[in-house]
Symmetry: C2
Subunit: 488 residues, 2 copies
Amino acid sequence: MFSSSLLRNVIPVSSEGVFSCVKCRSRQYCQKQFKKLTIRDALSSKALGSNVRIQGWVRSVRSQKEHLFLHVNDGSSLQALQVVASNDLNDSDLTFGSAIDVTGCLEKSPSKKQNVELHAKQIKVTGKCDPIKFPFKIKERHPMEYIRQYPHLRCRTNTFSALLRIRSEATSAIQSYFKDNGFIQIHTPVITSNDCEGAGELFQLEPAGSGKTQDERSQHFFSVPTYLTVSGQLHLEVMSGAFPAVYTFGPTFRAENSQSRRHLAEFYMVEAEISFTESLEDVMAVMENLFKASTEHVLTHCAEDVELFHKFVASGHRGQVDVMLSRKFYVISYTEAIDILNRSSQTFTFPTEWGCDLQTEHEKYLVKHCGNIPVFVTDYPYDLKPFYARDNQDHPRHTAAAVDLLVPGVGELCGASLREERLDLLQNRLAQAGLEEEYEWYLQLRRFGSVPHGGFGMGFERYLQCILGVDNIKDVIPFARFSHSCLL
Amino acid sequence: MFSSSLLRNVIPVSSEGVFSCVKCRSRQYCQKQFKKLTIRDALSSKALGSNVRIQGWVRSVRSQKEHLFLHVNDGSSLQALQVVASNDLNDSDLTFGSAIDVTGCLEKSPSKKQNVELHAKQIKVTGKCDPIKFPFKIKERHPMEYIRQYPHLRCRTNTFSALLRIRSEATSAIQSYFKDNGFIQIHTPVITSNDCEGAGELFQLEPAGSGKTQDERSQHFFSVPTYLTVSGQLHLEVMSGAFPAVYTFGPTFRAENSQSRRHLAEFYMVEAEISFTESLEDVMAVMENLFKASTEHVLTHCAEDVELFHKFVASGHRGQVDVMLSRKFYVISYTEAIDILNRSSQTFTFPTEWGCDLQTEHEKYLVKHCGNIPVFVTDYPYDLKPFYARDNQDHPRHTAAAVDLLVPGVGELCGASLREERLDLLQNRLAQAGLEEEYEWYLQLRRFGSVPHGGFGMGFERYLQCILGVDNIKDVIPFARFSHSCLL
């Protein structure tokens, strides 16, 4: 973004803005002749002796006899750049958290901790920071619960700054995986008029204003009641009638009154839909490949940031991640899962009879049972699954072609199914539920060139929790929304 | 996604599923030995004589004396694959819109229109399509207004399928631009408790259910009233205190009771925030580079799809796009813009005095005046801009460091400003508006290490309208939401 030609035309000036280097006092430059670099680029620069300008926030200040040592971070990397200056440049405003603008010479560092350091010619404090009032303290590793109280400032901590870089890279890795495999990205809508499976726990919308009832106002705007989406699946299925593979990656909503470590009112979902599927294995292959490819990408491209989590947040978690990546995921049927639970010596709070839904305690047990390798649980009881799940037409135990992916620490990471593409079966099930009219548009997808298809949804925050070992979902999203909390 | 090893192990079988090629009747294969290919891959395949399997939807059927000719499309490309079969394989279910599964030999096509064609061994109709009831008719180019009535089926038309491929590629191009330039992607929240500039036109949220007033229920869930975001800017500004550059790309909402060709209730915005800015030019450079880099990427990677628009939807539009790409964008000040408008012979509906906001008619005139080159209009009257815009502290005409980018056909594509980073000025302005308390968190960003920063927002749908020449914004989004309409 910034021109490097500034560097090539270094002309000595005698006007204002004249500085002398802490080392090479003879040379004089004006500020414009300094190349603007991010800390990341400065740290990896080979251009020793070059004149550069960096900007960022002070992470530490140490004043010695002759020299002043600062560590400056700008969020482009976890690492800070060491700035060495003459003590003449010291200033009482040079405090932890203050924003500074430094021009100087990039020099080889005598320390083993970094390759380069910046010998400052000028240090300008652009934004002061009162260290008493600033909630974060120098050289302190604050607990996640503490920094969570400051949603507008927590990106200034090393941990949350690392998290945001990882989240950005993981987003990009997931998008690349889909693009490289021929998936078209579809922006499925946030506002929807279908109440998605009649699942309850929906947020309803209306134009702001007061005095009228929700129905009056809602009907006024869209002419029908509208909700925030709980899944883009049905809209992706529309696209399954025209493309080989599609995906969406966006916010999803649940008005669940939960304060759990695994639930948010607004969270991100990766959802994909694959046309021309042969069996559930086609969908499982995409889930496993996506998980592994994205995780390997993140481990490679955010090595330092990930290490921070695996060292200070979830010590020893890296081993578990490596095991997940190196092993083929297990596949067991729901019926086998029920057998495993019933054979176990553990006492469960919830029932484990065939036909009961698996609870978090069951999911966690099953993953442990499988040696902490992620495990696909397939073919759930037909009656547990929504109308769109494909009927396996088996008996006496009637199942649907649905699968969940369970992972260590988190439990359910993905849910998937083949979708019922057979018009007569789908029509019967919708009729039984009294939904035939409401889902006439969905039935039409099966009337006009229906193809076998299936898909899955993966909770993006749970994915981050799983690979980083973060216990609370509120710590892996920039701004957490949950019951009784919507800060900023 | 699909194994190519199937192709390497071609073993003749004598069991069920035995077919003979229309050309080379001697060879016999079972279906499993056919390599599954998308139409796109089949069309570009060099493996003539190989056994492949394709799946897709019939775009045309033509039966001649001995042979049957089909065109099959699967959405992986605009082009369809020609399938040639013996007339024995004809079937009354082989209609326009039906889904088929074809196995056969890939052969060189005698036609100039395509390199390869598929000589079918078997054709299976997997999903019938009643051509009378299907709203789209064979070989007909339906008007946009017509296909817009079928949000669940319009992706089955060539035009809308092309649009969705372009939209996906443009999304990816924009994300690549930011990633390559060191921007961190931030998922700014959809649900927010701040009413963003007090701009009105907000959607308010509450858990679904009836009987209570909106305030009772809303307060019950988040403890404060909550809205759908109208911009991620303030949340991005949080991140400007920790990163050199950030961006967000997601849905944004306005409860505007408008049926215009340029407005939607739910639309996508690309928003970026750049720290350590020197002037408005830093932000303008990013806008211009983003526009040009993304557009060039789309023109290169979706050449066929874009050509469809520039041929059938907006004839001659390509020339206009090439002009936009080849020329440096103009920069004029708001004051100059007002002079231009006042010197013009055109009669405007809205006033053109200094201090009045520019209306669409003014914006369109200015772009024409600049020879249909995009034009930046800078330094708007201070009183027209929200509290966060940086005060230019000029007089007598008091302006703010804000800029809009106007483009042909669309008018305003981007809005940008430097943000007021000076605590005292910001505090005064918020106090005057009585917002000091509500925005205390925002003031704190300036209390703790404030840096000069600025950013912009670009309407993604308007961007697509601009480069494709699409007149109505409802035709460039998968599912359009606007007043009185929220289908599906």
